[in-house]
Symmetry: C2
Subunit: 439 residues, 2 copies
């Protein structure tokens, strides 16, 4: 038991100051966890701060929203990741600001001094300043948000049963997804599978053919970051599943009932899912305009050092590292975060020993998206393929990157079960959303 | 699609009135579901109302609270139970009252006429009129409640890390369970396992030996409803696990900080878990004093008919059926509910055909409780045994009664994993409890 003679209760968070250099990591996402693992059993003290006590496997959030997976199987306790390493401390904390002059992190549970700071706060939903959409739309960046969406979808169908007003019923069964990136595409595919496989059985007294799924995409294709072939195939798969894709359309307003766009296209819907973009989750003290670039990200050099600082680093979505192939910064995805986390681990140890750090180079392992049963698109460096085999690759890769043996087993069993039975059993309204809605 | 010419939107809940007699069941617990299954494909229209869209397997709620199981694996969508039966309707509804004169059920989504009504509302936590305890204590009768408790337990340990005030730290690590029935005993055992297996690894910088688990029991033994041998063995098992058992003590007050009792025993704790009793979940319109007996239950005859009514029935926890062996009414457990539900299914069909109903006889299959790893007590009619074998029997029986193949698989995998790894991975604070607490 560590008992420090503290005058203020939360000061320093009851963490002893040792002779080892102290590295504070903010965020236990892909980047933060990869970095933490690299620093295990080294001559450094590592303090990981996160507002949740678990790591979220964000690529599978859409399966939580659509009842295919239980939330607990894509979350993993951060303490368990760190439990074998005696040089580690975890604190459940909201980081409120960074004091770059005093080298302190300011949190809701007190201040913490650092020798080296790594910002791995990731990204959050980007509403591009539209507060009306922020208020009325659903996001899918966190587990609670995904559970809210799961509840809302199910509550909508229960409500659709009760009304004889056709417009109202259609609005309840209309799902408008804004954004044709992987999140939007995968969610649309899952919703289409539900419409086909689950709704007719669960709601025999409702004409579930009326349920409509729309993707509204501002660009002229979906899956913009992938190959032309992947984009075209994904569109073909989605259209076969009955998803309506509206390209070159921008959503401009949503008042909780009506979606309007920059064209004469409009929708009546109770559910607008905003998957149109993310932006860096910056922190006060490091949000000066000279540091922040496109998408609200912190400008870093090839060693992940934040511009103007030697001992403050940023990795993953929050870090904007410009490379030759990516003049707008590396993509905001798991791969750059993991690779930067790993490399920063070795670089930090070198830096502490006053050895030169190695510049980061991104090994682009490709991108993939699944559209539904037996359907996925995969872009690897050398191979691009679509269809059933791509779907197997997608599943294998996602199982592989999921943290924890138990999680992998549970996800695997769910997938096999869902595949064989055309089912999704986690269609549970554990916490009703509508009555708690912010409206 | 059913389109009825309705003047009021929610009137009759969009359910067509057919020539078949209409049976309305309130509650999708053990009793309601057993009854519903019996009425499948019969010449009756069945409408099941529940405030949740899922059936809860209550005996395993304590494992959700203690991170051993994900909530979704002990919940099962009610619509899926009913999906193959065309004579069934489910409505997600809070039943507010019963109009026994007009034969109508009054709900938050409208009124519903019935020919036959079955009340299967189960039970709720009994605070014996102590509103202070109701306000500050934690209950464990529903999935959201169990998740709140899970969050609180984990939040307490995170908070314990931050304080250097020893009294405050001990209060955070002190767990007081009121009630030595199966719920209290099983929860205490699980908490003791966490203390032993998880806390030292998750919180290396906290002296988790200071964590204390108390059971406060008003009677002179725990597991009062079971055999003397079971009770004694359970006590022995719990004491070996380090649980403190206080018998012949009644908790009288709890203000969120201090528990006082009718003796000079008192505890400082942030967590009081109230498992001291349940009472019938009665409904307005059927709560007249002449109908309500001990524990707030509705008096029923041997056909489960509510006293004074021919066509209103009650089954399970809410029904008080007095038999020779159970002069205070059948125990409020799953077995009587399931058996009554099944029998009422056949009886209702007989009743509708104007044939005589068969009186209910309870086949007491015994009782069991698990205390922790390799430890359980089982009372069967002929055999009473305790220890490892009892533990296997306990697991087998619980897996068997769980609804759904997927749930069984996921629970089984979790149990094997938890057993082999001495672990409980669902230690996730998905929705923090403290900041939302009603205090």
């Amino acid at each position: 038991m560590v008992l420090l003679p503290l005058c203020t209760k939360f000061l320093f968070m009851n963490i002893p100051r040792t002779s080892s250099p102290r590295i504070v990591i903010i965020g236990g996402g892909f980047g933060g966890v990869a970095l933490a693992k690299k620093l295990a059993k080294q001559e450094v003290q590592v303090i990981l701060l996160d507002k949740n006590n678990y790591h979220t496997f964000q690529p599978l959030l859409y399966q939580v929203s659509t009842g295919g997976l239980e939330p607990d199987s894509i979350a993993y306790p951060i303490r368990k990741i760190l439990k074998d390493f005696s040089n580690f401390y975890f604190r459940l904390a909201n980081v409120e600001a960074i004091d770059t002059k005093k080298n302190k992190v300011v949190t809701n549970i007190g201040k913490l001094k650092f020798d080296y700071l790594v910002i791995a706060t990731g990204s959050k939903t980007n509403y591009f300043g539209n507060s009306e959409i922020e208020k009325y739309s659903m996001a899918m960046k966190t587990i609670p948000q995904s559970l809210n969406l799961r509840s809302l979808i199910l509550e909508n169908f229960e409500a659709a049963l009760l009304t004889s007003d056709l417009n109202e019923r259609n609005a309840l069964m209309n799902f408008v997804i804004v954004g044709g990136g992987p999140t939007g595409v995968e969610l649309a595919g899952a919703l289409a599978e539900i419409k086909k496989g689950i709704l007719p059985k669960d709601y025999p007294d409702l004409d579930t053919r009326m349920a409509q799924i729309h993707i509204v995409q501002s660009a002229d294709c979906i899956l913009k970051g992938m190959s032309k072939k992947a984009s075209e195939k994904a569109e073909e798969f989605l259209e076969k599943l009955g998803v309506n894709i509206w390209k070159n359309v921008r959503v401009t307003h949503y008042d909780g009932k009506t979606v309007t766009t920059n064209t004469d296209l409009a929708f009546e819907t109770e559910t607008l899912i905003w998957a149109a973009g993310v932006k860096g989750a910056t922190i006060k003290g490091l949000d000066a305009t000279e540091l922040i670039t496109r998408d609200n990200r912190l400008l870093v050099n090839e060693f992940n050092q934040v511009k103007g600082f030697e001992h403050i680093f940023a990795i993953g979505d929050i870090a904007n590292m410009v490379t030759e192939n990516f003049p707008d910064g590396l993509p905001m995805m798991a791969q750059p975060a993991i690779q930067q986390g790993e490399q920063l681990g070795s670089n930090l140890l070198r830096f502490i020993e006053q050895k030169p750090m190695k510049p980061f180079t991104f090994k682009d392992k490709g991108a993939m998206a699944t559209i539904g049963r037996n359907k996925a698109v995969v872009d690897l460096k050398r191979f691009k393929f679509q269809g059933v085999f791509a779907w197997y690759v997608w599943m294998f890769v996602h199982l592989f990157f999921l943290i924890g043996f138990r999680n992998r087993m549970v996800v695997f069993i769910n997938w096999v079960y869902n595949y064989v039975r055309f089912d999704r059993e986690a269609r549970l309204i554990i916490r009703p959303f509508k009555k708690n809605r912010k409206i």
